[in-house]
Amino acid sequence: MALNLTINSSNPPLGVLLAAEHVKGSVNLSVDEGKDNKLRVSESVQFSDVNSITRYLARVTPTLSLYGSNMLEQTEVDHWMEFSTRRVCGQSGLATALGELDMALALRTFLVGHSLTLADLCVWAALKGSNDWQSIQKQAGAFSHVARWFSFLGSQVPFTAVGNKYANSKA
């Protein structure tokens, strides 16, 4: 099975690119640049929504556990994906959202379970693309748990690879 992913090169979807980078060893996936975000599974099946694409990529690579390892974790992942689109990318109230995120990360290294999941990818990508977060980050001591988690993930290999390739083109 060969999957074909097209990304919007003028506004690259970081979450999708991170998921693609993680699954590329487990599934046959090609990435092209174009005008819209689209994952082509077959002639008749295509996904264009960012969360649908990442969910599909996680589900076809179950050994990576990007969707958590049980039903509870799966629900938690869904919660954070919704959180990333509505609350972090939303127009207002980033400070409230960050307060909740900080609270959740106080006793956690990763958002869900004990390893990396879509929750981490999507929330990290949403924060990375947020100008407000870039400026909040410069204030010392603000949301220390979010800051630790954000820089920890940012230092890991798939994140640096995607960051180097695409983050600059957006700025």
Binding site: M103, A104, A106, L107, R108, T109, H114, S144, A147, R148, S151, F152, S155, Q156
Partner: protein
């Protein structure tokens, strides 16, 4: 206790053949009699040797700075944590807690031998902590929970239950 630790470390490193250790003196310092060389004495010395034998030098730190930080925490483990009096343990927990606020691992963003040995060394303290104390030292608790779930680390030790959401939220931040 350190003998059990060394055999767990062997398994964590994926070393197939277990070594035989003896102990020396009142403090039961571990000794490894190697086949082609002098005897190795001391927990950190033997542990470092095992890491090299397993060809995983990255566990001793990457850059020169990282290597120094790893050595510092290994030394802290054997001088401060081991044989520590009951009254002093709170100081150690406080130290670790504030140090770990902006770090995932003791040496920053990479897992090293320092995390494994600190986890083994401090486990008996964490087992006895109340839920409220674990939340008081939450950065330390978060690190501890992460290391006990790190693949292959926890062998001879029972898992410690750690709440993953805060319950005493009105307290300090």
């Amino acid at each position: 206790m350190s003998l059990k630790e060394l055999s767990s470390l062997e398994k964590a490193l994926g070393l197939k053949k277990p070594n035989k250790y003896s102990t020396q003196g009142d403090r039961k310092v571990p000794v490894l009699q190697s086949i082609n060389g002098p005897a190795l004495v001391g927990l950190v010395t033997i542990a470092t040797h095992l890491v090299q034998e397993a060809k995983q030098p990255e566990l001793l730190g990457g850059s020169a700075e990282h290597k120094a930080v790893v050595q510092q925490w290994l030394e802290y483990r054997v001088t401060k944590v081991d044989g520590c009096h009951k009254e002093d343990i709170k100081t150690i927990l406080k130290d670790l807690n504030s140090y770990l606020e902006d770090k995932v691992y003791l040496a920053g963003n990479q897992f090293t031998l320092a995390d494994t040995l600190m986890y083994y060394g401090i486990h008996h303290v964490i087992v006895d902590l109340a839920v409220q104390e674990k939340e008081k030292y939450m950065n330390m608790t978060r690190w501890f929970d992460h290391v006990q779930h790190y693949p292959g680390v926890r062998h001879h030790l029972p898992p410690v239950v750690v709440l993953r959401n805060r319950v005493y939220t009105s307290g300090h931040h």
